[in-house]
């Protein structure tokens, strides 16, 4: 059975401009499902809508979503807070710039203890700073004490993304939504973050909805992928099918642009005027 099921999701602006139309997809436990597309294709809006994070003036106009068999989204209404967390494209901007990393983690852990989302409210009395240190070392940070004492602007983008991942898994979500989590990072840092996400999925058995524009990242991270264009899913299938038997013209164009060699049609697209 699917962990996350989305059916007929449509997203609109207040003025009636349609951003996403009739989107359906599902994510299994322990599975990484990708959404690939270009800016404006609606992939980020889809991700944000599942956490009730759509910006002002943008709303879900139709469709529903279930997580672990519980319906949490019904058209414009958020019925419940899904047990899902999110990591973002620019981790340095996603963290609070005025607080040290340690203080942010401690605040998060105290909040989680109080709200008892993992059913252990009041039980986990252990030193919250020690738990924060354990959390950052679980995401491969070698010197937790040094990182906890720093502000986000003193750390690299890769280090901040590790902190974001630590915060995301602290809440023990069943679904992680990752919106371009490695865009803007150096390739070697990207490789490490992708490996961390893989390890996190394997260790916690969570499902991941992975939004990216990078065909290489999608190929290596996902089991299935939805190709989005102009607010619609053009194709949703296993990565092997998408990459080796693409059924859609836009998918083929994406694949061609990601490969090393230009395809012959590109010569005729107007760039060779004259």
């Amino acid at each position: 059975m699917s962990l996350l099921t989305v059916r007929g999701l449509s997203i609109q602006t207040r003025t009636g401009v349609s951003l996403v139309r009739d989107l359906s997809l599902d994510v299994g436990a322990g599975e990484v499902v990708g959404i690939v597309g270009e800016s404006g294709s609606g992939k980020t809006m889809t991700a944000l809508s599942l956490l009730g994070l759509l910006p002002d003036g943008v709303h879900v106009s139709a469709g529903e979503a279930e997580l672990e068999g519980r319906r949490f989204l019904d058209g414009p209404r958020m019925l419940a807070r899904p047990n899902a967390t999110m990591i973002f494209q620019n981790p340095t901007a996603a963290l609070n710039p005025t607080m040290r990393i340690g203080a942010q983690l401690v605040r998060l852990l105290r909040f989680l203890d109080r709200s008892g989302t993992d059913g252990s409210a009041g039980r986990r009395r252990g030193d919250v700073r020690e738990r924060a240190a354990a959390l950052v070392s679980s995401v491969g940070i070698a010197d937790p004490a040094a990182v906890l004492g720093r502000y986000p602007h003193q750390l690299s983008g890769g280090m901040n993304q590790r902190v974001m991942i630590a915060m995301a898994i602290a809440a023990r979500p069943s679904l992680l939504v990752a919106d371009e989590p490695t865009t803007g990072l150096d390739v070697t840092v990207q490789a490490q973050i992708l490996d961390l996400i893989r390890a996190t999925v394997a260790q916690h058995g969570i499902g991941v909805l992975f939004v990216s524009h990078d065909m290489g990242v999608i190929a290596q991270m996902c089991q299935r992928v939805a190709v989005m264009y102009d607010g619609e899913v053009r194709e949703f299938a296993a990565v092997d099918d998408i990459y080796h038997r693409p059924g859609d013209a836009y998918t083929r164009e994406l694949l061609a642009s990601a490969s090393d060699h230009p395809r012959p049609e590109e010569v005729a697209d107007g760039t060779r005027a004259g």
């Binding site: 890769g158 150096d186 490789a191 230009p262």
Partner: protein, 313 residues
């Protein structure tokens, strides 16, 4: 005509003494593309600025080989004659255009600077806009009214309108969508064939250079650690850092197993620490120079010289 940078050193900050570039030499010829590849902090953008005359080198020379002028460091702005020879395309296309100017004025600016008559400049601008695959209507728009891909085509037109010898491309496709990226690279390759312009392309993404680069120089912590013909560097990388950079790019094929570079540690400043070196410390014994590892292919690693190949040649 050839742009030659020799022994460039750049030190930022009087007290902090941040050694951004540590003795880099490179040359860019007309009609070819030199790609300088490296990660944040490698000094690649500083090299671009030095080549463009936007940043003064602490020591070293920037010169045009055929005529021999140019002089040490260039200094901010450089001479008008210099500007005509070198032009630049920046990473953020929309931000690199003046928001209060119509596209026409931005593209025409280099010609106006050279004192060209307006009707002749207009004719050239229209020709370039057509050559980069845009409609002349775009000339009346403002930067905010065009897409990122269109703005980058405008920036390319502006860079080429004064017929420069060399265009410096600083991450020209980093902020563009993947399909747009492919078209811009095709456009740049095409314009090079037609005009004979040389490119100095700065990028962090080694996979994006395959289409355009004739030669590749890999920068690491202010040094060039490997350089050579593009195919040789990509297919037969010799320096451990080049190997790490190439293997870190996710392969766009789910059937190819990719593991990335997961175990490489980092220096305190965040740059990758190359510890996979089979003979740590040997660089210091043999000096930091580059060693020949193939035809026109050098690497700053003594172990990169394959002993078997060395014996047979």
């Amino acid at each position: 005509m050839e742009l030659v940078l020799a022994d460039i050193e750049v030190v930022y900050g009087k007290r902090t003494r941040n050694h951004a570039v540590r003795g880099v030499s490179l040359r860019v010829r007309r009609g070819e593309t030199l790609a300088v590849v490296g990660e944040s902090g490698s000094g690649k953008t500083t090299i671009a600025k030095v080549a463009a005359g936007l940043q003064k080198a602490t020591s070293g020379t920037v010169a045009w080989q055929a005529t021999g002028d140019g002089g040490v460091g260039g200094g901010p702005g450089g001479s008008p004659a210099r500007r005509q020879r070198v032009h630049m395309v920046f990473q953020h296309p929309v931000q690199s255009l003046d928001p209060s100017w119509r596209i026409r004025r931005s593209v025409k600016e280099p010609l106006r600077y050279l004192g060209m008559a307006d009707d002749e400049a207009e004719r050239l601008v229209r020709r370039l806009i057509a050559e980069v695959g845009l409609d002349a209507q775009i000339l009346d728009r403002y930067p905010r009214e065009v897409s990122g891909g269109q703005a980058q085509r405008v920036a390319v037109a502006r860079a080429l309108v004064a017929d420069p010898e060399i265009v410096i491309l600083d991450e020209p496709t980093a902020s563009l969508d993947q399909t747009v990226r492919g078209r811009i690279l095709t456009l740049l390759a095409d314009l090079q064939v037609r005009t004979g312009v040389g490119y100095l392309m700065i990028t962090h993404d080694i996979s994006s250079v395959r289409r355009l680069a004739t030669r590749i120089a890999v920068m690491y912590r202010g040094l060039i650690v490997e350089s050579g013909p593009a195919a040789a560097v990509l297919e037969d990388p010799r320096h451990p850092y080049t190997q790490a950079l190439i293997s870190a790019v996710p392969v766009a094929d789910p059937r190819v197993r990719w593991d990335g570079v997961v175990a490489l540690p980092r220096h305190p400043d965040g740059t990758l620490a190359v510890t996979s070196c089979p003979v740590p410390g040997s660089c210091h014994e043999h000096g930091p120079g580059l060693h020949e590892v193939g035809p026109d292919h050098v690497a700053g690693c003594t172990k990169a010289v394959d002993p078997q190949k060395a014996a047979t040649t």
